[in-house]
């Protein structure tokens, strides 16, 4: 296979994206069809690349200090770009119906294809600077996709841009430090310890990676975007693509570029970030009253499991984290898409207005149940197996992290029981009485994804075996991890927690009488109540805190600026005009004065030059 083949997944979508941008709104369906064709072609190319055994490299030298346009394909990133291509294909199909009658479709599909090109480029590139280029390209399309069609989305888009931009600055700093330490930008040649400056480099790269994945503290734009942006965007970017990219890069830095040992500070840091993300995000998810917003908090929370798993530095944990990355992308994408189907059919995602949809939207409801079971870790769906692997690793790395993961799982189950109960069961409302099942292009991706949940659960060796292969070279030979979990006691404990979640849910429903308020006894618990209040008021949002700090700073700078302005605009002008007016007044055309000046000047020169006598 020619190495130029590697360029196709980047250039085809980018070029077609440019063409789509030129198609006027009058021509309907052409953009959608073009997007589907490109994603199919891209999937075929990626499938071919996946079939390829061994490595392919493409290098075009750019600058002599190590900045080469380098692509490198090997089994891990071939797997990632294939997964990405599948998600893009499904979302393209979904958007075929979903995006009808929306504004700025050409922009949406152009950004969609640019995102595909940039994502492929970022995954394939073997040079940190080139990767940064594609990474920043994703930031632009992210901004574009949030903002299109809606003026109100502007604030959210800015927020997403700034939050992700801070992460990207960290990434940039990390890349600079890495170059300083290793004198190369080629990813496959970097091998650094995590101490001193290299440790700092790792820290920055880590922050860059998790900001893409959406872990805390880089999460706060996601729930806002869930409300403001088009749903296919949510299902695609925060749901699937960003997790794949962020966790892919996290894996690269923590396995290839840096050597993370179990118990080192880097490992502890990663696990702590993971555990905090799991707990706090899921606690927020529990009390949400909007379908998409609730899902978006879970999109944050699930990242915690992946970071935790990879952070353990133990083979089981890493495999679990990566498998969870894939599973999460599948079921989270599926859940967002069911949310979109509900929104498309009923016109709302407000849980208060929804109910009893299972009878009118049975396929959507069924798929939702599969995906919800999967995310809650119910056997035999895929989420169960990956979570068990992560638990296994977390328990070996520290019992605290295991407990955090279990508690997170408990609340995940509780919140999905609440969501499913409120949307698909219970009494019908005026919004849901007349609904019909969603159209076919919307159902196809949902069904495919929920089938994938089952397939990757029952036949989990399909995914686990290749993932084990990726890290085998790094971590030595592994025992076989696919199949049913080996540690039976862990399974029992997690099932007990799941049963607890069910009990908790029905306790809540009985107490309040409404599925929507099933979590209220947790929401209004003595201490939690205060914390929730503050959180709802965005007291803990790093973005808002940053904005407050910056506002104070800018007030202070404004005062200083006025002072400087005064010096320029008033002080200098006054002084100058005093001088120039007095000079003007001296030149009254009186010739004897002029002669006097000349005489004085001449005398001075004479005295000065003669003084050395």
């Amino acid at each position: 296979m020619s190495e130029h083949f590697l360029l196709l997944p980047v250039f085809i979508p980018a070029l077609v994206g440019l063409i789509v941008l030129l198609i006027p709104d009058r021509i309907t369906k052409l953009k959608e069809i073009l997007a589907i064709i490109v994603t199919i072609v891209n999937s075929v190319i990626c499938w071919k690349l996946l079939q390829n055994s061994g490595e392919i490299s493409f290098i075009a030298p750019w600058a002599n200090f190590g900045l080469d346009f380098a692509f490198r394909l090997y089994n891990f990133n071939a797997f990632i770009i294939f997964a990405i291509s599948c998600f893009f294909l499904l979302i393209a199909v979904y958007s075929f119906t979903f995006m009808v009658n929306k504004n700025c479709l050409n922009q949406f599909f152009a950004y969609f294809l640019f995102t595909l090109a940039m994502a492929n480029g970022a995954v394939l590139s073997d040079n940190l600077a080139v990767m940064l280029f594609f990474w920043e390209g994703l930031l632009l399309t992210l901004f574009g996709m949030i903002i299109i069609g809606r003026r109100e989305a502007f604030r959210t888009a800015i927020k997403a841009m700034i939050v992700s931009g801070v992460g990207d600055i960290c990434l940039m700093l990390g890349i600079g430090l890495t170059y300083l330490q290793s004198n190369t930008l080629t990813i496959s040649k970097i091998s650094l310890p995590v101490d001193g400056l290299s440790g700092l480099a790792f820290l920055f790269l880590f922050l860059g990676a998790i900001s893409k994945a959406g872990a805390m503290p880089f999460h706060s734009w996601i729930p806002d975007a869930a409300v403001d942006s088009p749903l296919p965007f949510m299902a695609l970017l925060p749901g699937a693509l960003e997790k794949l990219l962020g966790i892919y890069f996290l894996t690269r830095i923590s396995l290839d570029m840096f050597k993370i040992e179990t118990g080192s500070w880097a490992s502890m840091l990663m696990m702590t970030v993971g555990a905090i993300t799991i707990i706090f995000a899921v606690m927020m998810a529990l009390i949400q009253k909007d379908y998409k917003r609730l899902l978006s908090y879970h999109a944050i929370s699930q990242v915690g499991y992946m970071v935790l798993g990879i952070g353990t530095g133990i083979k089981v944990g890493i495999v679990g984290g990566l498998f969870h990355m894939l599973n999460n992308a599948i079921y989270k994408c599926c859940l967002f898409l069911t949310g979109g189907a509900v929104e498309h059919q009923t016109g709302t995602t407000d849980l208060k207005k929804l109910g009893g949809l299972i009878s009118t939207m049975p396929i959507t409801g069924g798929c939702f149940i599969i995906a919800a079971c999967s995310i809650s870790g119910v056997p035999p769906f895929n989420g169960f197996f990956s979570k068990e692997l992560v638990y296994d690793g977390a328990l070996k790395a520290g019992v605290v992290f295991y407990l955090a993961a279990l508690i997170g799982s408990f609340f995940t189950s509780a919140s999905f029981l609440k969501l499913g109960h409120a949307v698909f069961f219970g009494a019908k409302t005026e919004h849901t009485r007349e609904t019909k099942e969603a159209p076919l292009p919307i159902l196809i991706p949902i069904v495919v994804l929920s089938l994938a949940c089952i397939v990757f659960g029952l036949f989990n060796h399909l995914a686990i075996d290749p993932i084990q292969n990726f890290i085998v070279s790094e971590k030595g030979e592994l025992e076989k991890l696919s199949g049913w979990p080996h540690d039976f006691s862990l399974v029992v404990i997690s099932l007990l927690f799941f049963a607890g979640a069910i009990a908790n849910h029905f306790y809540g429903v009985r107490k309040t009488g409404m599925a929507l308020k099933a979590a209220d006894h947790i929401h209004h618990a003595p201490v939690l109540c205060e914390i929730y209040d503050q959180a709802e008021r965005r007291f803990f949002d790093p973005y808002d805190i940053g904005i407050v700090v910056i506002n104070v700073l800018s007030e202070a700078l404004w005062v200083i600026d006025r002072g400087i302005d005064w010096v320029y605009e008033v002080f200098t002008v006054e002084i100058t005009s005093v001088f120039s007016l007095s000079i003007r007044n001296l030149h009254r055309g009186n010739f004897s004065t002029y002669l006097l000046w000349s005489l004085i000047g001449g005398t001075f020169i004479l005295m000065f030059l003669m003084k050395s006598i």
Partner: protein
């Protein structure tokens, strides 16, 4: 061949004043147009080697001539500005007779300026400066009005004092060394130990030449003379006549006869800096367009003096380059001012308003000229100022660099306020019938503006080959 630059104007002046009939006067314009063109083409395409010139009359008349890059540049400036001045003067002349008088005197000025630039002898230098000055008096007073007489009178008095001082200086040099040609005098002076009388001669030369070039505090006559002069004469005076007599002679005398020591350097730099500051501050408060330009001229000459005062080859090159730019730009701006004055019959900046849309070419060329003078890249004024600043910096005069850069800001501010007042802002009802000036007033402006833009943009190519042919390698 270069002696032609003296002989042709001389022959023309003699021919024009022969008592053979009135038709001769009609040909004056053609002489006045062709002579500068011949001069420019000879310099650009003549391929003349630097060095002493041995004319054919060497045996009979003792007049040593010297041609080097400084004189080449000056001859180029003289050619361009005389050409522009003749075009403007031809258009603005009130009668055939006054046109003839003007052309006659301009050719005489051309002859005198060429002589000043080419001579290699102190006494000849004095004679040619005097010829330039006398022709200038008559040119200033040509309109025979009160303003003209006042300006001319002030110029006469100051100029006479200045040339008297110079003459005394020359007398001292002659007395001490017995030589009057540059090279012989320099050799003789170097062999002498520091002699008090020579120091006196230096002071006389310095004061005399400062008076002639109008540096602060010897500048009182400059605004009056420029304002009093008719437009075409103002172009010639501000563009080259006073500069050739003053600054060029200063550069020549202190380059070829005396050596610049630390004390002289201090005087030059101090006077240069004061002129630059006072000129700029003075320009800031002016309401009369020509008066503003006159103060600006003083300020820019301060820059040139700073360049001369540094004493390094780079400083001298910068000074020469700025000399060239300054002449072109002052010629351009005075052409613009005469166009505005001719169309509106006033120069009062408080009355004029929003002429930009009525006089587009004048406005554009004037903005180019102002920006170039203020040193905005990529116009030519930027490069020459930059070279002077670099020369100052390299010689260690950091404070002066700071001041010079700040004065640039002042330059920009007074030019911008002038431009805003003249060409931008609201269309005034009073000036709604104003039209673009005649071709004769627009063409010189276009020519000079394209020179400053061209030299600025093509700076690296032109400076080495045309502006400073024998010294361009320094830059």
């Amino acid at each position: 061949m270069l002696s032609l630059l003296l002989l042709l104007p001389l022959a023309s002046v003699i021919f024009l004043n022969l008592p053979i009939g009135k038709w001769v006067r009609g040909t004056a314009l053609y002489f006045a147009l062709i002579l500068p063109i011949v001069q420019i083409s000879l310099l650009l395409f003549g391929n003349i080697a630097p060095g002493a010139i041995a004319p054919f009359y060497e045996k009979t008349v003792k007049l040593g001539l010297l041609f080097d890059d400084t004189s080449a540049l000056m001859l180029l400036i003289i050619g361009i500005l005389v050409f522009c001045s003749v075009i403007v003067g031809n258009f603005l002349a009130e009668s055939e007779y006054s046109k003839f008088k003007f052309m006659n005197l301009v050719i005489l000025t051309l002859l005198a300026m060429n002589g000043t630039v080419l001579t290699s002898d102190l006494f000849s230098l004095y004679i040619f400066i005097e010829i330039t000055a006398i022709a200038s008096f008559i040119l200033i007073a040509m309109n025979k009005d009160l303003f003209g007489f006042e300006g001319a009178f002030k110029y006469v008095v100051i100029s006479t004092i200045a040339t008297l001082l110079m003459l005394s200086g020359i007398a001292i040099v002659l007395m001490v060394t017995g030589e009057s040609s540059f090279s012989a005098a320099k050799a003789a002076l170097q062999s002498l130990d520091s002699c008090h009388v020579i120091k006196l001669a230096i002071v006389l030369f310095l004061v005399g030449l400062f008076l002639k070039s109008g540096m602060v505090p010897f500048h009182g006559w400059v605004p009056d003379a420029y304002v009093a002069a008719p437009p075409a004469v103002a172009i010639l005076l501000a563009g080259c006549a006073t500069k050739i007599g003053g600054l060029y002679s200063l550069l020549r005398v202190f380059d070829s006869v005396f050596t610049i020591n630390f004390q002289i350097q201090s005087v030059l730099l101090a006077v240069g800096l004061i002129s630059a500051i006072i000129g700029a501050l003075g320009a800031l408060a002016q309401n009369d367009m020509k008066r503003l330009l006159a103060y600006s001229s003083i300020s820019q000459m301060g820059y040139i003096l700073l360049g001369i005062g540094v004493g390094t080859p780079l400083g001298k090159a910068g000074a020469l380059f700025h000399f060239f730019n300054h002449s072109i730009l002052k010629g351009l701006l005075f052409t613009n001012s005469s166009a505005v004055e001719n169309q509106t019959k006033t120069r009062d900046l408080e009355k004029l308003k929003g002429l930009g849309s009525r006089m587009p070419i004048t406005a554009v060329t004037s903005v180019i000229g102002s920006l170039s003078t203020a040193g905005i890249p990529p116009l030519s004024g930027f490069w020459s100022k930059l070279i002077i600043l670099i020369a100052l910096w390299k010689a260690g005069f950091y404070t002066l660099v700071l001041f010079a850069a700040l004065i640039s800001l002042l330059t920009l501010s007074y030019f911008l306020s002038m431009q805003r007042q003249l060409f931008f802002g609201k269309d005034s009802v009073v000036w709604k019938d104003v039209k673009e000036a005649d071709f004769s007033l627009v063409f010189p402006a276009l020519l000079l503006a394209s020179i400053t833009v061209g030299v600025g943009v093509l700076f690296p190519y032109i400076v080495g080959s045309i502006i400073l042919p024998f010294k361009g390698s320094i830059l």
